[in-house]
């Protein structure tokens, strides 16, 4: 496997670890009056035992992150793509899950401390609403800035659909449709920002109004930027998978896409958080409600009294769903499904890579099997055959392209677009011409004998 691809994958995935570390470390800084997902009275924020618990958490988190820091570099000792994916994807999953182990431990420790010190703030079934701030903030985000992004994102799908649909392009359509759906999702979230609950940090409505506006402006800007970034990436990805740009452009665009999304999301979160901290500190009469009972381990929100499906996240950044609402349950199930697909994908690639491609001749046809029967070439369909000692350069359009397997539709230099079912490491190769186009396979002894028998004039 190409070392540059390994470096690219590493550069793309490795930032997950420092980001997790940075975000969870930041949970020890009071967000309003919430530390490690636990709501505390403002005077308790200076408690020495609380500070000691935060220090212990930082050390435990540091150890967990250190443990995860080296395994990804094992990719430099692996040759096969599936093994590289196995290392990186399983590491990714662990890098997301493991830092939450110390977080959960110290979250529970702080909860116990809160109970011990009687830091609960009365009835937790109370909801505070700032009537003045709410009345002044009754404004929806405008639709027009996102419309061009939606059109740009829809263009590749529309082009493919109008240019002529065939089975071959199904995965390209799926690519375009998925990325369009992501843009639509960003657009929906952009609109939902203004429906999020008003921030309440003080008795004085002015403070609440300013903070709510700052949060909404920052997050509206983020979702708008994300929709545009995704729209542009959709076009670049489409140009890449349809062979209109070189592979390097796709790699560069993917790296830039990741950096741009991360940069804008962190910028939105920390601009809001800093302002929240400043305003809460400046407020003469800070105010808060204790909603800890609705937060499972400080991470998952479950509040049957709240009709909102989306709320500001307590840990990390952005928003989270209310698991008591049907929309929240569906979203969480989908997110879990995506997370579970992370360990499944490398196993599937492993099966693709290590299952040998079988090309056999029966009485009347050549049958190609790889995991299941993937092609059958009937003798009467064959118009002509060409034997190649070497495989010409080929670029994958749809299918699998590995060092030991080419399976799917490829653009082959000097031949155009056709089907390839072969192991590039096993010459010679056969180009079989049929009325539907050409198919390239390995020229095994069994197949050569079959063709010599069935095709007049063919001699290996």
């Amino acid at each position: 496997m190409n070392i540059f691809i390994k470096i690219f994958l590493l550069v793309l995935l490795y930032p997950v670890l420092p980001i997790m570390y940075f975000l969870l470390m930041n949970e020890t800084k009071p967000r309003k009056n919430i530390v490690l997902g636990v709501t505390l009275p403002y005077p308790a924020l200076d408690d020495p035992e609380l500070k000691a618990a935060c220090q212990q958490f930082k050390r435990a988190l540091g150890k967990a992150v250190l443990l995860l820091a080296f395994p990804p570099f094992l990719v430099f000792f692996a040759d096969s793509i599936s093994v590289v994916m196995f290392i990186l994807f399983y590491w990714l999953l662990l890098a997301i899950i493991i830092p939450f182990i110390p977080y959960t431990k110290y979250h529970r420790k702080l909860k116990a401390l809160k109970q011990e010190r009687n830091w609960e703030a009365g009835s937790s079934q109370k909801i505070l609403v700032d009537l003045k701030a709410l009345a002044a903030n009754d404004v929806q985000a405008k639709v027009w800035p996102v419309i061009p992004a939606l059109l740009v994102s829809a263009f590749p799908l529309a082009y493919e659909l109008t240019a002529g649909l065939s089975q071959t392009h199904f995965s390209i359509l799926a690519f375009c449709a998925t990325l369009l759906l992501v843009t639509v999702l960003f657009f929906t979230l952009y609109r939902l920002v203004s429906r999020q609950r008003t921030e309440i940090i003080a008795e004085d409505s002015e403070y609440n109004l300013v903070l709510t506006r700052i949060r909404r402006v920052n997050w509206t800007r983020f979702w708008l930027s994300a929709a545009w970034i995704n729209a542009l990436y959709t076009v670049i990805l489409w140009l890449s998978v349809t062979g209109r740009t070189v592979f390097f452009v796709f790699l560069l665009a993917t790296a830039l896409y990741t950096v741009a999304i991360l940069w804008t999301v962190l910028k939105a979160e920390f601009a809001t958080r800093n302002m929240q901290h400043k305003l809460a500190a400046a407020s003469p009469a800070p105010l808060y409600t204790d909603e800890d009972r609705y937060w499972i381990n400080g991470m998952f929100y479950y509040n049957p009294n709240d009709q909102k499906s989306l709320v500001s996240n307590r840990v990390g950044i952005g928003m989270t769903v209310n698991l008591a609402r049907p929309a929240g349950k569906i979203t969480m199930a989908f997110a879990l499904l995506c997370l579970l697909s992370v360990p499944v994908l490398p196993l599937w690639v492993m099966a693709e890579e290590f299952t040998p491609l079988r090309i056999e001749a029966t009485e009347s046809a050549i049958v190609i099997t790889h995991l299941s029967e993937i092609a059958k070439i009937m003798a009467q369909e064959i118009e002509s055959v060409e034997l190649l000692p070497e495989l010409p350069a080929a670029r994958r359009i749809v299918g699998t392209g590995m060092d030991n397997l080419r399976k799917g539709t490829f653009d082959v230099e000097g031949y155009g677009r056709g089907k390839l079912y072969l192991n590039p490491r096993q010459p010679p190769f056969l180009v079989i011409y049929t009325r539907q186009g050409f198919i390239m396979i390995n020229g095994t002894g069994e197949v050569l004998a079959f063709l010599e028998d069935k095709i007049p004039g063919f001699s290996p």
């Binding site: 109370k126 009537l131 003045k132 709410l134 009345a135 009754d138 009709q307």
Partner: protein, 126 residues
């Protein structure tokens, strides 16, 4: 003005909204002409049904405390009901409260003291 809705309270939510808006106006936290959030917005924010907020607003409207306009929404607007009408309505409500106090064994002096304290509180806030 902060509305504090307690879901564990025996007082219905619509009445909590009505009572707190009334107290805020009496305490000068909400002034005549000040805009109130739209029914949908408040219901969405508080996580309650729109009917609940609508019921509270209708009650406040009937009592002449707010006005509801289809275009500009709800706003504080003390009605021009005659003083005699308001006094008659309050008298009925107070009669019920006084009766309840009597049943519960609260003396006239205690009631008078309570009433005086509330009136003093209102004057201070204003």
């Amino acid at each position: 003005m902060i509305l504090s809705l307690d879901f564990s309270s025996e007082t219905p939510i619509y009445l909590q909204i009505r009572n707190q808006v009334l107290l805020a106006i009496a305490g000068g936290k909400l002034k005549p002409g000040e805009k109130l959030p739209a029914i949908r917005t408040l219901a969405n924010e508080a996580g309650v049904n729109m009917m609940t907020v609508n019921k509270a607003y209708q009650l406040l409207k009937e009592e002449g405390i707010i006005s509801i306009d289809r275009r500009s929404g709800a706003f504080v607007s003390l009605s021009r009901d005659s003083k005699a009408d308001v006094l008659a309505r309050l008298s009925k409500e107070l009669e019920l409260i006084v009766s309840e106090a009597k049943v519960k064994g609260i003396s006239k002096a205690e009631m008078r003291e309570l009433f005086n304290r509330l009136l003093e509180g209102m004057e201070e806030e204003k």
